[in-house]
Symmetry: C2
């Protein structure tokens, strides 16, 4: 199996972490970096010995030697770039949130199928061993009573908002905000662990630029609710908890899970549950798994995994869309 | 000033704690215990050298030597017992939730005023030094971003519900459930610290008996939301957090606050804030303060405090009622 030739769109810090992880797996080489600024494309690619820095989007997307594109541009650009990449016959790894509404997911996944290529949303945590370990623990719980999942971290770019600017991550034009940026991690955890909820409600605290800076979402299941707490205008150190009548599972976080504990509901005693060591680069597993998908594309197992992740991605996206609608969040996607 | 002659309605564990606290203040003597069971009334009163055990409600309520009644019967009985006590000219301390709807509060407080007696809801935590200390800290925050306040503790009486029984605390007949029993503590904290919210939404997980076993409430203020997590069918060890853009305040609990910390939003570093030692009996302060109210009833300061607490109790009750309505919780109060 040959080494995958990787093209990268977007030069922010997440791209750095992904490229490091990808190179570490030895399954990829960084072939080309796209940016509207040649300077940025060059300086991003240099430490990774990228072969090319490209400013012409069409030339980049149709580059004959590129196998797979990693798209980590502002959220609002993901869809059109994905469609362009798929049309050029490339495998696509698109950062979360891949898309801002279910129609986009549907169109993109149909196109990927027609073209016979991989399309995956980079929700890195669902590929972590410990994320799967927590899922197993949840499945053994007696009478689940819901969960509280938290990801709330102050963004230094909110300083800019307070100074009157509009950075992409806080802009409706680029589908920014707390739900799209951090809430989605808690949502992926909820949908992976408990399935797609019947109802979804979002109480958003909007900031000056029109996006949500912080909020609480309630996912309603037949027998319990899952509460999601997330934000970019404040910091929380709350762990996440999953409740049952016998015990509460406590994890330090929903991304990069490093600690799992069981709390006895009766006496509140706490017991540590042995888990895997936390990954050093939380994108390593994801990069490894995606390369395997591409390299074994025709195998039955691969097709099943791809179907499973596409179904999960779509379920998350449907719920994301319900949450967005319930809080009246408008982006530039016509919905 | 003479020692107040105390009559107690209700012989559950909270009455024990209150009577211990009351006697400790040396401002009260336990004069009489009312119960429908003479046995229970006697065995409750004995360790406190109660003078009388009474099974006739009218005789108890009209007892000439009783100054003040502490009412800790099932929630659904508070209102009629309070009205009876006020009509007999007694001062009334009624356990939280004092009443199940705003009409009841209004009627009771008007009667108390007409009779010239004290009527207070026993929301013990608002009288704690540390509760007031947290309020001061909140008032010095820059750009509050909301809060997450939690009180969730598995009740062994839920075992009975699962076995097909209907204990009072899980019965609609007695206005039981998680909101009325534990949620109200978080609600008192929210209304004391942030004022009365503009909107209140409650997502309740109902149990077999029709009451809420657990739930999430969202209180909406002009600039932020406060999320309340509470329940009796699961246990949470989450601390409570109050958010601002510079720092997050973390308290170990909203009742019996023993630890206060400041989290730096930028680097997530944690610093302990010195506070008062936690009270040994969390009802001591409340019992002391209520005796002082009664003994200085005619003083201007007392009247002001009483007005303030009545206003707070009514604001909490209005919000409680909104939450109850939003989750469609029916009790036997015609509303």
């Amino acid at each position: 199996m040959s080494v995958l030739q990787l093209g990268v769109i977007g030069t922010s810090s997440i791209s750095d972490v992904f490229v490091q992880a990808a190179l570490e797996t030895k399954a990829y080489e960084l072939k080309a970096v796209y940016s509207r600024s040649l300077e940025k494309a060059k300086s991003f690619g240099e430490p990774y010995h990228a072969k090319e820095a490209i400013v012409d989007f069409d030339a980049f997307i149709n580059h004959k030697e590129l196998d797979v594109l990693y798209i980590a541009s502002p959220n609002g650009l993901h869809f059109e770039q994905t469609i362009a990449g798929l049309n050029a016959g490339k495998h696509i790894i698109v950062e979360k949130p891949a898309f801002t509404n279910p129609d986009q997911w549907e169109e993109a996944s149909q196109l990927a199928e027609a073209k016979g290529v991989v399309l995956v949303e980079a929700a890195r945590h669902i590929h972590e061993d410990n994320f799967k370990k927590v899922k197993e623990e949840i499945q053994s719980l007696d009478q689940i009573q819901g969960a509280t999942l938290t990801y709330m971290k102050y963004s230094s770019r909110y300083d800019l908002v307070l100074q009157g600017e509009e950075p992409n991550i806080f802009s409706t034009k680029f589908a920014g905000g707390a739900l799209m940026d951090l809430g989605i991690y808690t949502l992926y955890a909820a949908v992976s662990w408990f399935g797609e909820p019947e109802e979804a409600h979002y109480f958003a605290q909007k900031v000056r630029t029109g996006v949500d800076g912080k909020g609480t979402a309630i996912l309603r299941y037949p027998d319990y609710d899952v509460t999601l707490l997330f934000g970019k205008t404040a910091t929380s150190l709350l762990p996440s908890e999953i409740y049952s009548i016998d015990k509460t599972l406590r994890v330090n976080a929903v991304v990069g899970i490093a600690k799992l504990e069981e709390i006895n509901t009766r006496d509140a005693s706490v017991k540590e549950v042995p888990i895997h060591p936390a990954a050093e680069n939380t994108l390593y597993e994801e990069a490894r798994v995606f390369a395997a998908l591409i390299n074994t594309f025709d195998e039955k197992d691969t097709q099943e995994k791809l179907k499973e992740w596409t179904a999960l991605g779509k379920a998350v996206n449907r719920t994301l869309f319900k949450l967005r609608k319930s809080a009246d969040l408008s982006f530039n996607d016509g919905q």
